[in-house]
Each structure stands twice: as structure tokens, then as C-alpha cells.
Amino acid sequence: MGLLSDPNRRRALINLLTRLNAPICAVCYIAGVAWFMGLAFEPFTLRTYMSENAMGSTMVEERFPAGERALATGREFAAHKKRAGGMPVDWLVKTMQSRGLEVFTQKFSRTLPFPDENKERYMVKGTNVYGILRAPRAPRTEALVLTAPCSPGDDNNQAVGLLLGLAQYFRNQIYWAKDIIFLVNEHDLIGMQAWLEGYHHTNTTGIDWSPLQGRGGSIQAALSLELSSDIITSLDLVLEGLNGQLPNLDLANLFYAFCQKIGVTCTIQGKLQRNDWDSVSGYSHAVQTMMLMVMKQASGRPWGDHGLFLRYHIEAATIKGINSFRQYKTDVTTVGRLLEGMYRKLNNLLERLHQSYFFYLMPSLSHFVSIGYYMPAFGLLAVILLLRALDLWVQLATPPVRTEDGIADLEQVTHSPPTIKLIPKETIPEVLSVLTPLVISHLTGAALYFFPIQFQATAVEHFPVSESEAVVLTAIAIYTAGLALPHNTHRYILTPDWRVLKLIAVLYMAVLLGCTALINFSLGFILALTLVPMAAFITPHRPKVLSAFIMVILSPACTLLFLVFFFQDLQEIPVSFEDGWMLFLSVISQGILDHSLYGSLVYPLIALMVYPCWLLFWNILFWK
């Protein structure tokens, strides 16, 4: 660090950084994006491998024979479900009991903050039924969970059938070392949330549940099963959980290993993996797969019932049976054998899954990118903010040249870059004066967070909209109104320097994005991708109209709108603009609901932090 202690070299370095600031920033941005795109290129990624010793070497033999019987049970379940008009609790209890499980039920109820139009529910009441297979000669300290949601309509009957079939088969085996809990949850994620909160006796989201009567100790791993047809063509693995949490990579490896062994086609993000990585289409396929994962992770919502387990440090994934028009068909017996194999290996675990990665991206099921490889992409974007901050700091620290005598000049040169003490006394109120925009934009953010739900009743009274629309439209209205607020009221005699505000805003954004990326890389990266260039180049001297337009385009809400279209495009179900807009509105309402129902943090993060931060830059653009 002789470089910084030597004033001359330090000055030279700082001169270089300030003079070439813009080009360096541009290079960093391009390098960051290029690095990210390179992650999907197969030669740059690692093949997945099983890290957990207890699951790697042991051979298990899968013998589950009763696929047809499981399907028959599924049909019986469907009939009882139709008759009961919901969860056939009594039938499930009786069936599980006859299979030798200890059966318990849990009732729960939850009133949503506003009606969910996608799933058509508002006041939710339901019952979870679960049966525990007690491991012989085990002291109830560890458990594994297999769940299947009891979905409305004709969905998932086969999953419940297979679950019951597996329960019966597992019950007759002697080798279990961990209790296995078979759970059929009603109202998908809400039921799951109730069950998990009941099991761990916590209450984070204000749901009402009746206490659980039976437990199996600490849950080591869980799989959620979604199966809606008698024959499937492929199995899809869903990993993304609440707040972008992912299960240990070994769980994905285990699934992949058994798919290979048994010969089931397996996908991730609904995408098959291809072998032609060196062709353009092969590479773009990998990019698409990875982008889907990034967007799903960034959304912070649980993409299957497994997503809520992750909060409790339980490794969990959802396995979805897909029936498309592919050639290879797989019957339920094979799926059962696959699950049997996975559970037997999980049963062998001595420790919790911890050997492999918790932070990763998957461009295909057989390849992964670990945190060490993807973080530089974000780092390159974040460093732009720091460079800009440095530039502003140096600019601010250069006071107007005093011409009294040469001594002041010398002093200034010796202490460059200055410490905070050197800011002249009269600029202290200047620093304070930037508090006004800071406070105002955060108040706007708080309004965006609190008002939509608070004032839904008022909105419904005065406008011809439903509650859900009222919430979303209020949110959008507050978001837009925030743009028109007079942020810089010039009450001070000394006009504050816009650069002080920008310096604070840039550092604020750097910290905000840095923290976000540590917890949820995808969200941090997507936000950085749009916000960083905007933050770097906004000054009051840019052409107002054009800059304002670009800023709005790069604002969080518009980013979300584009992502909705992009996501639909990647999933190969493109939508028209109107449908996309409707989807955008429903995504906002889902985000708010996810926050209040499951404790997803994306909505408060955007409303309380990212949006105010963006408003600060808006403020700088219109600085007088």
C-alpha cells in the first residue's frame, strides 16, 4: 500500500481514475455483463458431482412395484375429493391409518389482506393431513418429509395416490433410520406455511393454526411431489424457494443421479439439457435456462411447496411430472422407484446436507455455477458505483481556489484527498440540506409500502374496481406520484450542491445492491443491471426530457414489466401487450401477497429501499 501512502503516486492514481472515470465505468459494465453471459458457456462451468459421502457410494436397489395400485388410490382420492368438495380428510385419515401410519390432522385459517384473484381465495380455511411412518428402533430425532398438495380441480390426484402407495410400501421395510412424514396439504402454500409453522411452533405471518399432535424430530430433507397425469414424459426439478433461497446442491445432484440411473428424462426450468454447447443454439439454450433461474430466484417467491421449508434450514425441492408430446413415456411405478431411491439415500444421511453448495446457478441440470464464479459479474457492476463516488468525492473536495496566498494551495495539495474534517464549516448545513430529499423519498417509499393495503377499502368505495385491482392501482399511483413530488425545497440561503446528494445516493445504492446480492444474487444483479448505468450518468446537466425518459424506463417498475415479457418469452408462451400488462398487475399483487402470506422480502425491499434510492436520482436530474 505504498501506493496510497505516497502522495505523489496517490495523486497520479486519483487523477487517472477521475480523468478516465467514464470509460472505466463503461468497460466495467460491459465486462460485468459479458462475465455473466459467459457463465452459461459450458466450458466455463463445472459438472455437478455428489459431495455428500453418505449418499454417494451406497448402492440402493429400487423395488417399488405398486404404481398401478397407486394410480387406483389416486382415482379413489379424486372421487372422494369431488364428493367432499375439497380435502377428503376422513378418507385420508382412514387410508393412512390402514397403511400403518400414525395419522394426525391440523386445521388452519387465514384471511388474506385482499382477495387473491389468481387463485380466487380470500378467507382460507383448511386441514392438513399427515401420517408419520415411525422408523423401527429409532428415537424420533430425525425425519424426512414427502408432501403432495391437494389441489383444486383434477390436479395432483396422481401425486397423492403415489404418496399413499409409497407410504404403504415404505411401511413394510425395516431399513428406515429416520421417521418419514407423508403430508397432504390443502391450499398449497398456505397449508404448507401453516404446517411448517405448527411443526416449529413459530408464527411469523399471523396465520391461525391448531397445534400439531405428532412430530418426528428435526426434519432433514423434504420433497414435494406434483403429478397430474398417469403417464409422464419428463420430471422437472424446481429449486427456487422463498427469498431466492436454494436447497443444497446435493439434493439436485441426487435427483439427477437417480434420473440417470433409472432412465427418466429430467429437466430444470422445463428445459432439457443439450449436448451441443459449442453451437450458438446450444449456448443460447443454456443462457435461457440460466436466465429463467435468475428471474425466478429474483422474484423471491416460492416456486413450489418446497420453497417454504428452506427458511427452517430443511433442504427441499419440488418434483413436477410433466406430460408433453415427447417420445419417451414413464409410468408411475418408475417415478415411485425414483422417489424410493432418493428416500433411501436420504435415509442414509448421517448429517444434514451441507457438503455441497448453497449458492449456485444452473445453466443445465448437469452443470452449475458456484458463487465464486458468478459474484465477479456483480462485483464489476458494483465497482462502477464506487468509482463514481470516488470521482464525486474528489470533485467535492476541491474547493474554489483561494487566491490570498500560496499557502492555502500548498495545504490543499498536501491533504488531497481530504478527510471529512476539511470540508469547510459552512458546508455542514449543505450536507444537512440533502436530508430533505432523503426523507421525502423514503416517506414516499413508506407510503408505497403501507397505503395500498390500508386504503383498499376507500379505493373500492370511490372507484369501480375490485380490491385486488385497487391495491395494485394504488401502488402504481403512489409510485407515479412520487415522481411529481417537489423533492428539493430550497429554503436554505445556501443552495446545496447536487454532488453531495449524488455522492450519498451512489454510496447508498452501492450498499443496498451489495447487501441484496449477497442474499439473493439474482435480484441484486438484475437491479444493478438497470440501476447502475442510470446512477452513474445522471446529472442535472443532461438533457431533461431524454434523461427522464431513460430513467423511467430503467426504474424498478418498468424493469419488472420488461421482465414479465422476457419471462413469458423464455417460457415459450409469449403474450400480447395487454395480456402482459394484466400479468404485470397480477405480479405486483402476488408480490404484495407473498410478502404478507409467507414473508417474502422483495416487495418491502423495493418499496422501502430501492424505490426511494431511485427517487434520489430522479431528484438529481431535476436539480435547480
Binding site: 415411525r134 423401527p136 429409532a138 416449529h200 428435526s218 427458511r311 427452517y312 444434514r352 451441507h354
Partner: protein, 531 residues
């Protein structure tokens, strides 16, 4: 030291959910041994068909010896009593010893109360109590246990103990209990009692292939042909209380020998097969009892006291231990004594201790709490709580998970750390008045706890052990961590510290003499010096 050596001697390994109770003390008492002490050996097997379709088999072997192992009184002639145990008892002056090796958890709600819960505690001062929850019990523990029997596994009921069948079960518990018992009502002389018990529950689905039909051969893959010739009594009892007219299950060969006994506050009826009589074995010269269910309906008598325990909360910082105690008695409340020993690395916040029944605060009439000392002793929490009738009483206490030193982690630290079971001792009210008259006709399993109070009986139950995860460092990359830490400290912190604490000055070329003089004058005048 003494019990350490002793433990190594007796048990090769101690099992999952094992409890071990050593009552040790120096027994100073004078007396003289008899010239020809009498000894006696009895064996019995109780089979209780359970409503769930499982079957519970409980072996008990009792050796009674009218002698004293005392200091100075060398006992050298052993007949029925195992010499290996006798030597240990006399060498260390053991007053009472209870060891059990248990694998599995007794499912009270499905199986009812076991005949043989855990040993009573006589004197707290001399008590050594320990559990080893992580060990596995296997055949190597069974073989030395069988060798303690006078007939070994050659004859008598012990023939049935084939390890592959015994360990193919839902529950397995073997125990050794040694204690002095009074020879007469005045208790002037005592004799030593060795009870060896083995409790097994066979599972309907895994061992019984789902068929509600059990036989000795199906359970043990053996039949009986003779009693142990050294035994003064050798009997098999089948619990037929729920089946007085034979409508639930059918028992072959039939016997008209019945016995009644009060077990755990309930009057039970048993069919008795006396193996010392030749006609028990019939013409085939072998006894293979067969129990065949006729219907699967009916309800099991629910035990009056039931307890469970779990850890609540998530994350690796704090948590909460919940202990639930159920009193199913419709109108009577009874007191229980809850004993909890929690390792020091769960730091209990004892001020958060709450006891609630039916939504109301239930103040324990007695609480004894001994705080833990790090790395020295665990928390000990004992309390006397009254359980209201037909209620659930919940005891909660919060804890913080300690960060251990890196050498203190066990192998496989991500498995978690065990917290032993809580022990709940209670006097549960019973419908049946118990007779205190110690007659010989009573089966052994009914007489373990002498009960003075007529309307209640003593029960001790154990909750599940807990598995708790502690914050665990990633042991697989200490090298990386060391490198990273050193780099951060050296480069990042070091240079920053340097920049902050050092003052930097530009070294100026020496000014000329004239200028220096001028500066001195200027300073005297109070004018800033020339550069």
C-alpha cells in the same frame, strides 16, 4: 473412577436412548453371610397382543440370592448368580445398579405403558445418572447379556432369543437391575436380586407381513421344548384382558390356567402356560403358541399420562424447548415430577420458563434449578407440577445455542447434538386398589413397584430425546479461512490502519539561511512564515 471402570466392564456399548443408573455408595454395614446361602431362579415371558396388531413380548429372569456382598466378606462360591456381576458388586460396594440398553422409542399412545419402565431412585445423594443417546445397540450387547443367565441360551425361555429376530422389531430394550430386597417383612436381612429384562415389540407390517397372526415361531423363529432345569418357575403369560370371551383373537393351544394381576393400576387377566409341567408341551413335545385375530376393531385403553417434547423455532441462534404432558384422566388431577437435564451448550434462559395448563399459568409447587457451568456440568431442572384433569400442560423454556470451540465438536457435527430425554415420574390414580401383600403367586412383572397408596400407582415415562443443531463452522476449508482472514487482516486492515494513524508530510528541501532568519523574525512579529 469406580463407575467408569464398572461401566466399561459391563456394557460394551450403550444404546440409542439408553438410560443408565448407577447407584453407588460405600456400604458400611456389618453382618455375616450364611454358610449355605439359598438361591433361586425364575423366568417368565409375558406376551401382550396390542390393538394395533403389533405384539409386545417381555422376558424377565430373576435370580435371588440370600447373601451379602460386603467389604471383607469374600463370596467365592457362585451357583446361579453370575460371578462376573457378583465380583463387581463386592469390589465396588455397589448398592444398586440399573443399566438399560434401549433402541427405539416406546410409543405410549399405541402400546400403552410398558411393564418395565425405568428404575426407581432410592437416594439422590448417591445417584449417578447418565444417558448416551447416540450409541447403537446390537447383537454384541445381547450375547454377554444372555451369558449372565444360569442356563445361557441353551434351555428355557432364553432359547427364543435369537438376535436376528429380536433386532427385527420396532422396539428393543434390554436391562439389568441389581438391588437388595428384604427377605421378610421386618427387613432384618436382605438378599440380592438380579433381574434381567428384555422387552421387544414386533411390528405388524415389517415382521408380521401385515397379517394379524402371531406365533412363537413367527416371532422368534423357535418353539419351546423345555424349561430351564435350574429354574424354580418358568411361565408364559398371555394378556387376554381385552379378550375374555375370545372374540378378539384366538389362542392355541388353549389353556384354562388363568391368573389375575394388577398392572399399572389396571386389573389384567392372563392365560398361563407353566413350562415346568410336561403336559404343556402336548404330544408334539414342543410349544408353539399361536394368536390369531378375529377382528381388528376395538379400542386400546389409553394411558392416563403421556408426554412429548420438541424444539421450536428456527435459525441457529435461539430456540425453545416445549415439553407437553397430557393427563387423560377425566376427573382427577395428579402431581408429576419433571426432571430435565440439558447440556450446557444450550444456554437456558430460565427466566423464560413458563408452565401453562388449559391456557392458564400453572405455578409449579417446587422448582429446583442448578445452572450449568460451561464444559463442566449440564443444567438440571426439576419441578413438581400438578396436572389438571383432562388437560395438556406445556412447559416451555427458551435457550441460546452456544458456539463451541472448534475442537469440541463431535465427529459429524452437522448431525446435531443430542439432548437426553426428560424424565417424568408420577403417581397416577388407578381404579383398582393395589394390595400391598407380597405373595408369591403374583407374576413378577406386576410387582416391581411396591405401591403404598391404594388409589394410585407409580409411573415413570421418558420423552423423546432432542436433536439440536448448533452453529457449526465449515470444517472442510480451514485452510481457505485462514488464508482469507490473514489476507484481509494484512492487506485491508493493515493498510487502512496505516493511513489513518500515520501523518503524512512532504519533505521539503532545507530552506536557505536567509530565509530561516527571515522566518524567525516573521514569527516574532506574528506574521505567517515564508514557505
Amino acid at each position: 473412577m469406580a463407575e467408569q471402570r464398572f461401566r466399561v466392564y459391563v456394557c460394551v456399548r450403550v444404546g440409542a436412548c439408553v438410560c443408565m443408573c448407577l447407584g453407588l455408595c460405600v456400604w458400611v454395614m456389618c453382618g455375616c453371610g450364611r454358610a449355605h446361602p439359598k438361591d433361586d431362579f425364575q423366568e417368565e415371558l409375558v406376551i401382550r397382543p396390542l390393538q394395533s396388531g403389533d405384539v409386545y413380548a417381555s422376558f424377565q429372569f430373576r435370580t435371588l440370592w440370600e447373601t451379602d456382598f460386603m467389604k471383607g466378606n469374600k463370596v467365592s462360591h457362585y451357583r446361579l448368580f453370575p460371578k462376573s456381576l457378583g465380583q463387581v458388586i463386592s469390589k465396588f460396594s455397589v448398592r444398586e445398579l440399573h443399566i438399560s440398553f434401549t433402541q427405539g422409542y416406546w410409543r405410549t399412545m399405541q402400546w400403552g405403558q410398558p411393564f418395565m419402565p425405568s428404575p426407581p431412585v432410592t437416594d439422590h445423594r448417591f445417584l449417578r445418572y447418565a444417558t448416551l443417546p447416540r450409541e447403537i445397540v446390537c447383537t454384541e450387547n445381547l450375547t454377554p447379556w444372555k451369558k449372565l443367565l444360569p442356563c445361557g441360551s441353551k434351555a428355557g425361555l432364553a432359547v427364543l432369543m435369537k438376535s436376528e429376530k429380536l433386532f427385527h422389531s420396532s422396539f428393543h430394550s434390554q436391562a439389568v437391575h441389581i438391588r437388595p430386597v428384604c427377605q421378610d417383612s421386618e427387613c432384618t436381612t436382605t438378599s440380592w436380586e438380579l433381574r434381567q429384562t428384555l422387552n421387544v415389540v414386533f411390528d405388524l407390517h415389517t415382521s408380521g407381513q401385515g397379517k394379524r397372526e402371531w406365533s412363537l415361531f413367527k416371532m422368534f423363529s423357535r418353539t419351546l421344548t423345555e424349561a430351564c432345569p435350574l429354574a424354580s418357575s418358568s411361565k408364559i403369560y398371555i394378556d387376554i384382558t381385552d379378550n375374555p370371551q375370545g372374540e378378539q383373537f384366538e389362542l392355541t393351544p388353549a389353556t384354562h390356567l388363568l391368573s389375575q394381576a394388577v398392572v399399572l393400576g389396571d386389573r389384567r387377566t392372563f392365560s398361563v402356560y407353566d413350562l415346568t409341567e410336561a403336559n404343556t408341551f402336548g404330544s408334539m413335545r414342543s410349544l408353539n403358541l399361536l394368536i390369531r385375530w378375529k377382528s381388528s376393531e376395538g379400542d386400546m385403553l389409553r394411558p392416563l399420562l403421556h408426554a412429548e417434547r420438541y424444539v421450536a423455532g428456527y435459525g441457529l441462534q435461539t430456540g425453545e424447548i416445549h415439553t407437553l404432558m397430557y393427563n387423560y384422566h377425566p376427573f382427577r388431577s395428579f402431581p408429576i415430577l419433571l426432571l430435565d437435564s440439558v447440556p450446557w451448550y444450550l444456554r437456558l434462559y430460565i427466566h423464560t420458563l413458563t408452565v401453562t395448563s388449559k391456557g392458564k399459568d400453572n405455578k409449579p409447587s417446587y422448582i429446583h434449578y442448578q445452572p450449568s457451568k460451561d464444559r463442566v456440568r449440564p443444567h438440571l431442572l426439576e419441578m413438581l407440577v400438578q396436572l389438571p384433569p383432562n388437560s395438556v400442560t406445556e412447559v416451555t423454556v427458551q435457550f441460546e445455542r452456544a458456539l463451541l470451540k472448534w475442537t469440541e465438536y463431535t465427529p459429524d457435527p452437522n448431525h446435531g447434538f443430542y439432548v437426553g430425554s426428560s424424565v417424568i415420574s408420577a403417581l397416577v390414580p388407578s381404579m383398582v386398589a393395589m394390595d400391598t401383600n407380597n405373595t408369591k403367586e403374583r407374576p413378577l412383572f406386576s410387582s416391581f413397584f411396591p405401591c403404598k397408596e391404594e388409589s394410585s400407582y407409580f409411573v415413570r415415562i421418558y420423552t423423546e430425546p432432542l436433536l439440536v443443531n448448533l452453529p457449526t463452522p465449515d470444517f472442510s476449508m480451514p485452510y481457505n479461512v485462514i488464508c482469507l482472514t490473514c489476507t484481509v487482516v494484512a492487506v485491508g486492515y493493515g493498510s487502512l490502519y496505516n493511513l489513518l494513524t500515520r501523518s503524512f508530510q512532504i519533505e521539503e528541501p532545507n530552506p536557505r539561511l536567509a530565509k530561516r532568519i527571515a522566518n524567525v523574525i516573521r514569527r516574532l512579529r506574528g506574521v505567517p512564515p515564508l514557505a
